[in-house]
C-alpha cells in the first residue's frame, strides 16, 4: 500500500467565515473520498482586525498599557490561541459533515522547536499521534504556526512556541516531510503563484510551476504566496509542494526544484508595500567619521530590527528604504541623534536630521554649538515610494535587460528613483502612485501574459 497522505493547509481567509470553512472542509472530504488521507493544517481565523486574528489577540495586551512590552513567552501562549480555536472549529465542521476528526496543538502533533519564542524553528517532529489518528479513521487537524520547546526530551510538557512569519506554511511543509506525504498543498484565496498582483494586472496568468528560488525571491521582494521557509523544507526533502485556491478548482502552481526547470525566463513582476527611502548625505564627513556614522546607522537599525530594502552606497552618501510602518521607529531613534566624534581640534558633533528639521532638532543644534563644531547628517526622505521587481530564472544576466526596463518606464513617463539587482531580480524604486502602472508596464514589456 503506497503512502496516500496529503497535507492540506488552509490560510486565514480560507477559514475566516463559516462559508469559507465549509468550502475548505469540502475540499478535504473530496480528497478523502478519492482515497487520499488528508492531514489538515489551519491558520488562525481571519486576518488583521477580525475577532480571532493574531493581531486582535496582541491588541488585548497592548490595550492594557502600550508602553509595556509583553513577554515573548506569554505572547506566544496568547497568539497560539488563534490557531487552537481555528483547529477545533475546523475539526468540528468536518464532524458535522459526517467525518470524524481530531484537533491537535502543535505540541500534540509532535512538533518540537528550538526555544526562540515568537520565531522558533522546528527541530523535530514525532508524527506518531497523527498516524494513530489517521489509523483510527479520523482526519487530523493541526494548529499551524506553533510547536513546543523542551530542554530535555524526556521531560513531559514543555513551552509553547510560535514559528514566526510563514509559520503555518512551515508547519504544513514540515509535517509533509515527517509523514513522507505525497504532496503538501497550501490553500489560499488566489489560484496559485501569478505573474503579477491581479490588482495591477487583472488577467495575470497563474504559473504552472515555479522554482523554489523564484518563489523565495518573490517573497523577499514583497509578494508572499507561500513562505520561503515552507518551500525550502519541502524542496530539501523533495516533497511536492503546491499552491492552490480554496475557492476554485484550478490546478494551482507546483513549486519545483531548479533542476526541473531548465532554461531562462522572466517569471513575474512583484511589488513591495509602502516604503520610505532615505539618502544620508555623508559627503562633508572625513573618512574616519563617515565610517563611524555609517556603522552607527546600521547598528541602530539592526538593534531595532528594521528591515532594509534597496541598499545603496556612493562616495557621498548611503541610502536604503524601510517599510513605512517601521519608519516611526527609525525616526524615533535617528532623528535628532547626537554623535560627537573625534577629539581636540578635530572634534565634530554630528546631529542626524531626517527630512525637514523639526524645531526640536534646531534647538538641539543651537544648544550644542557652545560645545564645538556642529554638523548635520541630513537624510533626504522620499516618502511614498515602492520597489517594483522583475523576477526571473537565469535571465537577469542577459545583456540589455536593464535597458529594456529603463526604456519601457521612460516611455510610460515613470520616474525611476533608484535601481537594484541580483541574480534573480531587477528592481526599481518608483513613486508609490505609479506602482500599479509600473507593474503593468513591465508585465506587458516582458510579455508575461503569454507565460505558462
Amino acid at each position: 500500500m503506497s503512502n496516500r497522505i496529503h497535507v492540506m493547509k488552509f490560510g486565514g481567509t480560507s477559514v475566516a467565515t463559516s462559508e469559507a470553512r465549509l468550502t475548505a472542509a469540502m475540499k478535504v472530504i473530496s480528497a478523502k473520498e478519492k482515497g487520499i488521507q488528508p492531514v489538515v493544517v489551519v491558520s488562525a481565523i481571519g486576518r488583521k482586525g477580525m475577532p480571532y486574528a493574531t493581531d486582535t489577540f496582541i491588541n488585548l495586551l497592548r490595550e492594557i498599557d502600550p508602553s509595556v512590552e509583553p513577554d515573548a513567552r506569554e505572547l506566544d501562549l496568547l497568539i497560539a490561541c488563534g490557531e487552537i480555536l481555528s483547529a477545533v472549529v475546523f475539526a468540528h465542521t468536518l464532524k458535522t459533515l459526517g467525518h470524524s476528526s481530531m484537533a491537535f496543538r502543535g505540541g500534540q502533533a509532535g512538533i518540537r522547536t528550538d526555544g526562540v519564542f515568537g520565531n522558533a524553528r522546528i527541530v523535530s517532529i514525532n508524527p506518531t499521534a497523527l498516524l494513530q489518528s489517521i489509523n483510527a479513521g479520523k482526519i487530523p487537524v493541526v494548529c499551524g504556526f506553533q510547536g513546543v520547546y523542551t530542554e530535555d526530551k524526556n521531560l513531559p510538557g514543555g513551552e509553547l512556541t510560535t514559528l514566526g512569519r510563514g509559520g503555518s506554511d512551515t508547519t504544513a511543509s514540515a509535517l509533509g516531510v515527517a509523514l513522507n506525504a505525497k504532496a503538501v498543498e497550501i490553500y489560499t484565496d488566489v489560484d496559485g503563484v501569478k505573474t503579477a498582483d491581479p490588482d495591477a494586472v487583472r488577467h495575470a496568468p497563474t504559473l504552472k510551476s515555479v522554482t523554489y528560488d523564484e518563489v523565495a525571491e518573490i517573497a523577499h521582494l514583497g509578494a508572499k504566496v507561500v513562505h520561503p521557509r515552507a518551500a525550502e523544507i519541502a524542496m530539501t526533502k523533495k516533497i511536492p509542494l503546491w499552491v492552490k485556491n480554496t475557492f476554485s478548482d484550478e490546478p494551482g502552481t507546483e513549486i519545483v526544484p531548479k533542476e526541473r526547470f531548465p532554461g531562462r525566463r522572466v517569471t513575474g513582476v512583484t511589488h513591495t508595500g509602502k516604503l520610505v527611502f532615505m539618502q544620508f548625505n555623508l559627503g562633508e564627513c572625513n573618512t574616519e567619521h563617515r565610517t563611524e556614522l555609517e556603522s552607527s546607522i546600521y547598528q541602530t537599525l539592526a538593534r531595532y530590527g528594521v528591515q532594509l530594502f534597496m541598499l545603496n552606497v556612493s562616495p557621498e552618501s548611503i541610502g536604503f528604504a524601510v517599510p513605512r510602518d517601521q519608519y516611526p521607529i527609525v525616526e524615533d531613534v535617528l532623528d535628532g541623534l547626537v554623535m560627537p566624534l573625534g577629539s581636540g581640534d578635530s572634534r565634530v558633533i554630528y546631529v542626524f536630521q531626517l527630512g525637514i528639521a523639526t524645531p526640536e532638532v534646531e534647538t538641539q543644534v543651537d544648544l550644542l554649538k557652545s560645545l564645538g563644531e556642529v554638523r548635520k547628517v541630513h537624510a533626504k526622505l522620499t516618502e511614498g515610494c515602492t520597489v517594483v521587481s522583475l523576477v526571473g530564472h537565469e535571465y537577469m544576466q542577459q545583456p540589455g535587460v536593464f535597458l529594456n526596463v529603463m526604456v519601457a518606464l521612460e516611455k510610460a513617463e515613470i520616474s525611476v528613483l533608484q535601481t537594484s539587482d541580483s541574480d534573480y531580480s531587477l528592481s526599481v524604486l518608483v513613486p508609490e502612485a505609479d506602482t500599479m502602472r509600473t507593474v503593468r508596464t513591465l508585465h506587458e514589456k516582458f510579455e508575461l501574459s503569454k507565460i505558462e
Binding site: 500500500m1 503506497s2 497522505i5 488521507q37 509532535g110 518540537r112 520565531n119 524553528r121 522546528i122 527541530v123 523535530s124 517532529i125 514525532n126 508524527p127 506518531t128 498516524l131 514566526g164 510563514g166 514540515a174 515527517a178 509523514l179 513522507n180 528560488d213 523565495a216 525571491e217 517573497a219 523577499h220 520561503p228 521557509r229 525550502e232 526533502k237 565610517t291 555609517e294 556603522s295 546600521y298 537599525l301 539592526a302 538593534r303 531595532y304 530590527g305 528594521v306 528591515q307 532594509l308 530594502f309 541598499l311 545603496n312 552606497v313 556612493s314 542577459q398 545583456p399 540589455g400 536593464f402 535597458l403 528613483l417 533608484q418 535601481t419 537594484s420 539587482d421 541580483s422 531580480s425
Partner: protein
C-alpha cells in the same frame, strides 16, 4: 509512545508509514530534522570585476542614462549592480570587458571612472528578510572594520557587497569572526 530511532532527515520510511497507517508498528516512526539554522551559513568571494562610473551626463538625465545602457547592450555586455547617481550611473562588468567598455564609452565622449580589481562578496543566510536586523548587522560589521564598500545588493538568501580585491579576504574573516557561521 516513544519514537524509534530512524535516521534523521529522511522522514517516515514509506513501508513503515503504510504499516503504521494500517495499525502496525507505530513504535518505528521517525523524528526528522528540518529547518536550517538561522544566521550566516556561507561566505563566497568572486573576483574579476570592474566598476564603471559614468558621470556628467546631460539633461534630461533619464534619456542620457538610457543612451549609455544602449551602448553597453549593443556591445553584448552584461552588467550588474546598476546604480543611479545624481549625474549618471554606475555598474559592474566582468574585468575582461573593461577595455571594450572604455573604448565604446570614451568614443562617445562620456566621462568615465573605472574601479578595477573588484570582488563580489556574498554573505549567505537563509530567508534573510525575516531575520530582522541581520542585513544591517552585516553592514555594521563591515563598515566598522573600515572596509570601503562600493555597492550593496540583497537577495532572499544572501547579501552581496562589492569591494576591492584586497579587502575581500578581510571582509570574509571579519564576518566569520564577528557574526560566525552556523
Amino acid at each position: 509512545m516513544n519514537a524509534g530511532n530512524v535516521s534523521p532527515g529522511n522522514g517516515v520510511n514509506p513501508s513503515e508509514l503504510s504499516a503504521a497507517v494500517n495499525g502496525f508498528n507505530l513504535s518505528q516512526i521517525a523524528e526528522t530534522d528540518f529547518e536550517k539554522r538561522r544566521g550566516i551559513n556561507a561566505i563566497e568571494v568572486r573576483t574579476g570585476y570592474t566598476q564603471v562610473h559614468v558621470t556628467g551626463l546631460q539633461s534630461p538625465i533619464a534619456s542620457s542614462r538610457i543612451q549609455v545602457l544602449t551602448e553597453v547592450a549593443n556591445a553584448g555586455i552584461s552588467l550588474d549592480f546598476l546604480k543611479l547617481t545624481p549625474t549618471g550611473l554606475s555598474f559592474i562588468i566582468p574585468s575582461d570587458k573593461t577595455n571594450v567598455i572604455q573604448k565604446i564609452l570614451q568614443d562617445k565622449s562620456y566621462i568615465l571612472d573605472l574601479a578595477t580589481d573588484r570582488s563580489i562578496v556574498s554573505v549567505h543566510a537563509v530567508n534573510m528578510r525575516d531575520e530582522e536586523g541581520l542585513i544591517a548587522s552585516i553592514l555594521h560589521k563591515v563598515i566598522s572594520a573600515k572596509i570601503p564598500v562600493d555597492h550593496v545588493a540583497d537577495m532572499h538568501d544572501r547579501i552581496l557587497l562589492i569591494c576591492h580585491n584586497e579587502f575581500a579576504a578581510k571582509f570574509e574573516s571579519i564576518i566569520k569572526k564577528e557574526l560566525g557561521l552556523v
